[in-house]
Structure formats: C-alpha cells, structure tokens
C-alpha cells in the first residue's frame, strides 16, 4: 500500500530501519541527537536507540569525520551528518586524505563503511554556505562514492544502499526537496538501488535531460512544457554521481541523439562536463548536436534574492533543449 510521505520522513525511516537492522550502525553529528537534526531527519532516533548509537558531537566537522574513520577501524558502521554542504569544507582534509584513503593505505585491513549525510544544494533562501553543490569535488576523489536522491522513495532506498555499502559514500540530500510529498510503496521500501544505476523518470524521443537531486523535478516540469509544444523530452535521474551510469546515459542518448545536462553547481569543471564527455565518448556518431549544459554560474552561491537568477530555470532548460533541436552542422 502506497504511503504519502516526504523525503525528510523517508530518510528518517531509512536511518531507523538501518539502526534496527545492524547494531553496529551509529548515527552522529551536530544536533542530530536530542534535537533530531536541524531538518529533523534524525527525529526520534536517539529516544528509540539510545545516546550510545545516536548522539550529538562537538561542533567540529573535521573531528566528526576523523571520528568516523576511527570508529570504522574499530568495526563500527558510522553514519555521520555534517549539518550543511558548505561546512564540509573544514572536514575536507579528513574526507579526502583519510576517509577516502584508509582502505587503500591499510591495504584493505580496514573497510570504511562510512555514509556522510550532507544536506546539499540550494533553493531554500538560506544564508551563505548553506547552498553549495559539491558533487564534482567529491566525485574527483578516488575512494569515494557519491549519490543524490530526488524523491522520497529514492531517498529511502539509496540511503539504505549507501549504509550497507562497504565503502565511503557521500550522500547529498537536496534540502529544497525535504518537504515535498510523494508516495512510497511497500515494495519500494524493499528496494535497493545499486551503486552506479540511474533511472529514466520520463521517457521521450527527441532529447535527453540528465539531472540529479532537486533538478530532476525541474527537468520534469520542463518536459511537461515541452510536451505541450510537441517536444518529447526524456528525463534521466542520474542518482549515482560516482560512479556514473555511463551505459544508461548512452542507451538513452543513442535513441534521442541529443542531450542536455542540468545541475546547480557552477559550470566550469562541474559534473556536467563529465556527463558530457561520457555521452560524447559513447555516442559521438549518433549525436545530432553538442551536449548542452545548464548550470549555476561561475559565481559564489548568491544571496536569497538572487537565488532564482542563479539556479537553472525552466526557461534556461527549454532554451538549451531548443538549441540542441535547432543545431545544424556547419
């Protein structure tokens, strides 16, 4: 029976079930215990599982991630939270130099089954450092896996999958979608979405839109509008940002022969460049137009009143779609 829920509740349920399923799983971070997290994603978990397994840390992001490394070395399965995307920067040394490398450095003596939950991306009119998109930065680091859900059902399945994974996973939660309601069926609660798999959210035959996180919903809106003009837009929810489902991308673009990648992060060296390269490598002969990128600008994430000028808009997405449709080889 399908239940109407939010991504925030789905994530809470995933953590609840993960804590119940494996007593070595620990949930910790700033304000995740008594308060239940600033987004209430960990609401009620400390009361249910006790302060040994769900606990508040000191306000120290590098310390949180270093603690996760040590806990993993002692055989625990840490699920730390860093409260906001921009505050993962103080922990970058631990994430890049330690979390991502301890399995390698120790020649496999220590698994690092760490899932870093990181409320991410923009769109909530937040202060500075609360709207960053860091997927490309993390995807570049050997030893990390990176994922971002777009719906409540995906959030549940991907978080369970990430926690069960033996390797470090950076789990980017699109905070602008925390409160969006959608149905989650009992079957979906049993689902796992294996590392490196994507999903065709809406089929279409004229052009492929590739997105993740909150941009999936925006691309679906763009596809609705495109359909009114007779343009059948296929939307792919990439989900796993490392590893990327290159085969899934190629299968779609081989049919549509046009692709637009959409993300909130700045353009230059963003993950759109990687997606574009993967598509071009695999579909060069089929492509009727260069892969287009619709992204944030190469500027610091702006203040709330400028947020809508920064984020990819439906108009910008449709303009890029139009560009691929009208492209003619010279």
């Amino acid at each position: 029976m399908a239940e109407l829920t939010t991504m925030q509740r789905a994530l809470n349920r995933a953590l609840d079930d993960a804590l119940a399923a494996d007593e070595r799983t620990l949930v910790f971070g700033e304000d995740v215990g008594t308060l239940g997290g600033v987004f209430r994603v960990t609401d009620g978990l400390k009361a249910k599982y006790g302060g040994d397994r769900v606990f508040d840390t000191t306000l120290a992001e590098a310390g949180i991630m270093g603690m996760a490394v040590g806990l993993a070395m002692a055989g625990w399965r840490p699920v730390p939270e860093i409260q906001f995307d921009g505050f993962s920067y103080p922990a970058i040394d631990q994430i890049v130099n330690q979390v991502a490398r301890m399995h390698y450095r120790s020649r496999g003596a220590f698994d690092m089954p760490i899932t870093l939950r990181l409320p991410s991306f923009g769109g909530i009119r937040a202060p500075e450092h609360h709207g960053e998109s860091l997927e490309a930065l993390f995807a570049q680091v050997p030893g990390l896996k990176v994922v971002a859900p777009s719906t409540p059902a995906e959030a549940y399945a991907l978080l369970r999958q990430s926690i069960e994974d033996p390797d470090p996973v950076i789990f980017l939660e699109p905070k602008s979608r925390y409160w969006h309601k959608d149905t989650v069926s009992d079957e979906e609660l049993e689902e796992r979405l294996p590392v490196g798999t994507s999903r065709v959210v809406r089929p279409g035959r004229h052009v492929t839109l590739v997105a993740w996180g909150a941009m999936v919903a925006r691309c679906l809106q763009a596809a609705e509008l495109g359909a009114e003009d007779g343009v059948e837009i296929e939307v792919i929810d990439l989900r796993w940002l490392k590893p990327i489902d290159a085969d899934g991308l190629a299968a779609s673009v081989a049919r549509t022969r046009r692709a637009v990648v959409v993300h909130e992060a700045p353009l230059t060296a963003g993950l759109g460049a990687e997606v574009s390269a993967l598509i071009t490598e695999r579909c060069f002969a089929e492509l009727k137009a260069p892969v287009q990128r619709v992204t944030g600008w190469d500027v610091p994430y702006p203040s709330p009143v400028l947020e809508d000028e920064y984020l990819p808009s439906i108009d910008r997405i449709l303009d890029a779609v139009q560009t691929t449709l009208e492209y003619r080889r010279g």
């Binding site: 040994d52 310390g63 270093g66 070395m73 330690q98 399995h103 390698y104 033996p166 490196g196 590893p243």
Partner: protein, 349 residues
C-alpha cells in the same frame, strides 16, 4: 600539569622484587631501543646508498617511542602513528621491513597488517590521525573492551586544529585516549618556542579539564611510567590525558633536510649529552644485573637484525601493480574495474 621523572608511586612491591622487576623492564627496553637505534642509523645509510629514496630519522626519540609503546596492552589497545615512528613500530612487534617498505616506496602506509598489529598505517598528514584515535576510543568504549587508543603527534602538529578538535571531543566524552606528544624541539626548521604558545602542550590539558604531564622524554622509565599511568586511567574510565615527552630529534627532519640551516652545533652537542640510549645504559648498569657481555650481545643481535632488514628491504622490489586499483574500494565500481582492464591492455600492447 605536573612534571614527573620517575614513578614515585610504585613502592608497594617489596624492594628486592621491585628492583628485579625494574631491571628486567630496563633490559627489555634497552634491547628494543638499541635495536631501533641501529635500524634507524641503517635506514639513513640505506637512503644515502640509494636503497630507499627517503626516510624520516627518529634518532634521539628512542626512549619516547619505545617507552610509550612498551606500556601498551597489545591485546586491546591501538596506536596511531605519524611518519616518524620506527621505535613505536618495532616496540609493538611490527617487522621493520614492513615499516620501511613505506620509505622503500612499496606502499605509502607500510606493508604490515595494521589491524592485526594494532598499529595504524603510517600517516603523513601532520596531526591527521589524532581524531581517528578519538573515534577508535569511542568504539572501544561502546564495546567495553577496556582498550585505549594512543595518538602520537609532535610539537608541530600541536598547532593543528584537528588536535584541538580531538582533545576537546575526547575530554567532553571522557574517551579512553592518551595524547602522546613527542616534543622534539623542532617542526622541520621552526623551533617549539615559535610553535607552542605558553611553551607546553601538556599544560593545555587544564583547558580541556584533563591531566597533562610533561616527562623527560629521554628517560625511558619516566616515559614508560607516565604512559602506563595515562593508559590505566583511561582504561578505568577516567578519560583522556596528555603525555608530553620532552625529547630531541638528533638528526634531520628527513633525509632531504639540512638542520645546519636552522640550528646550532652547540644545541645538538648539548642534547648528545642526554642521548636516551646512553642514559638507559647507565640506568641498566646501575642495577648491577648486566655487564659488558649483555651490551655486546644486544649490539650483535641488533646488527644481525639490521643486516637481515637491509637485505630484505633491498629485495622488496615493487608491488604487484594491480594493487594500485585493488585497494581503492572494498567493492569497486565497474568504472574502476574498466580502468584496471584498460591499464592491463596498455601494458600488453
């Protein structure tokens, strides 16, 4: 903060038995220190001879490293080293060849089984492993193993923010950690006087509400006793503490370094008079339990080991190159396996 040199509290045993125990401990510590001294000198020589590309010598810090590591309970404790911890590794029973494999270039972290040895891989980020000790200690506390984590770091690392985060968190949660600072006077070229505000890392314990003791880091018994007390305290639920071993890096920071550019020969000579190995020998001779024959035998045994280590390090060669791919993930994604295949094809034309 308190300054200790010898364990004034260890008077419960009958005097004769205490004397015999102390002598046995000293013999054991001396043997390990002398072995480490020989291996360290040989490692520098191997670098000069082109057998290994680089090395971070620890001569002068044998008492601090061996004395602290010898106090560990290897059934349940765990040590987090830096990149200058040959003495710790040898005292914990790690094969010196596996340790020096890092410097030989085989594998950054070294080739020993870190989980089995209870010594984490070599960590080249200054202060980078200290928060790991805090996490490991939390895990040990939750598992009620009685295990204690010891985090090694230096006076230079004490400037790192990670050290503050680690100490504060460990103290807030009363975690079983010993923060073992080897204050060897120099962070490459910057003296501790320009590194450590207030002049003492141990004194910082007061601010965290945990004990901090400063010991003569060249007196192996003082180091052993202070570390054992800190371990006992942590084991009994008393929480973390700091041990600051005042010592001296007698050699260069690394085999690429030239201390003549930043410190005087006079300073080096003055510390030569406080050579920890010579001090240990004096202490041991005073027990009256050993004569010249003991020291000759230790030197001979250490020399034989050093010869074996030299041969084995020289013979290490390279690792199977596929290890470059195979240890990145526990469950490698298909994309990486694809790169591994591409690499294999590129090698076989």
């Amino acid at each position: 903060m308190t300054m200790t040199t010898r364990d004034a509290g260890a008077t419960a045993r009958p005097a004769a038995q205490a004397h015999a125990d102390d002598a046995a401990l000293l013999r054991r510590l001396y043997r390990t220190m002398a072995t480490v001294r020989r291996l360290d000198l040989d490692a520098v020589a191997m670098q000069r001879q082109g057998i290994i590309p680089g090395y971070a010598p620890m001569r002068g810090q044998e008492a601090a490293q061996v004395g602290s590591a010898a106090a560990l309970d290897l059934r349940r404790d765990f040590a987090f080293p830096t990149y200058r911890e040959l003495g710790v590794a040898v005292a914990m029973g790690v094969d010196p060849v596996a340790y020096l494999a890092s410097h030989q270039g085989a594998w950054h972290g070294g080739l020993w089984d870190a989980a089995a040895a209870r010594l984490a891989p070599i960590n080249a980020v200054v202060g980078g492993a200290v928060t790991h000790a805090v996490g490991w200690a939390l895990g040990a506390k939750l598992d009620r193993t009685g295990g204690v984590a010891i985090a090694y770091f230096g006076d230079g690392a004490s400037s790192q923010g990670d050290i503050h985060e680690a100490m504060n968190t460990a103290a807030v949660s009363r975690l079983p950690v010993v923060f073992f600072c080897q204050n060897n006077g120099w962070a490459i070229s910057v003296p501790a006087s320009e590194q450590v505000a207030g002049g003492s890392v141990a004194a910082r314990g007061a601010g965290y509400g945990m004990p901090g003791v400063r010991v003569d880091g060249n007196d192996v018994i003082a180091v052993y006793d202070a570390t054992r007390r800190a371990l006992d305290r942590a084991r009994k639920g008393g929480g973390p503490s700091i041990v600051e071993a005042m010592t001296y890096r007698m050699g260069p920071h690394s085999t690429s370094d030239d201390p003549g550019r930043y410190r005087t020969l006079d300073e080096e000579q003055s510390w030569l008079a406080r050579d920890p190995l010579a001090l240990c020998e004096q202490q041991l001779r005073r027990t009256g339990t050993v004569g010249d024959g003991f020291f000759a035998e230790v030197a001979e045994t250490a020399g034989a080991l050093a010869d074996r280590v030299r041969d084995d390090v020289a013979a290490l060669g390279g690792r199977p190159p596929e290890e470059m791919f195979d240890f990145v993930f526990s469950d490698p994604p298909a994309a990486l396996l694809g790169q591994r295949r591409a690499w294999e094809e590129s090698r076989h034309g």
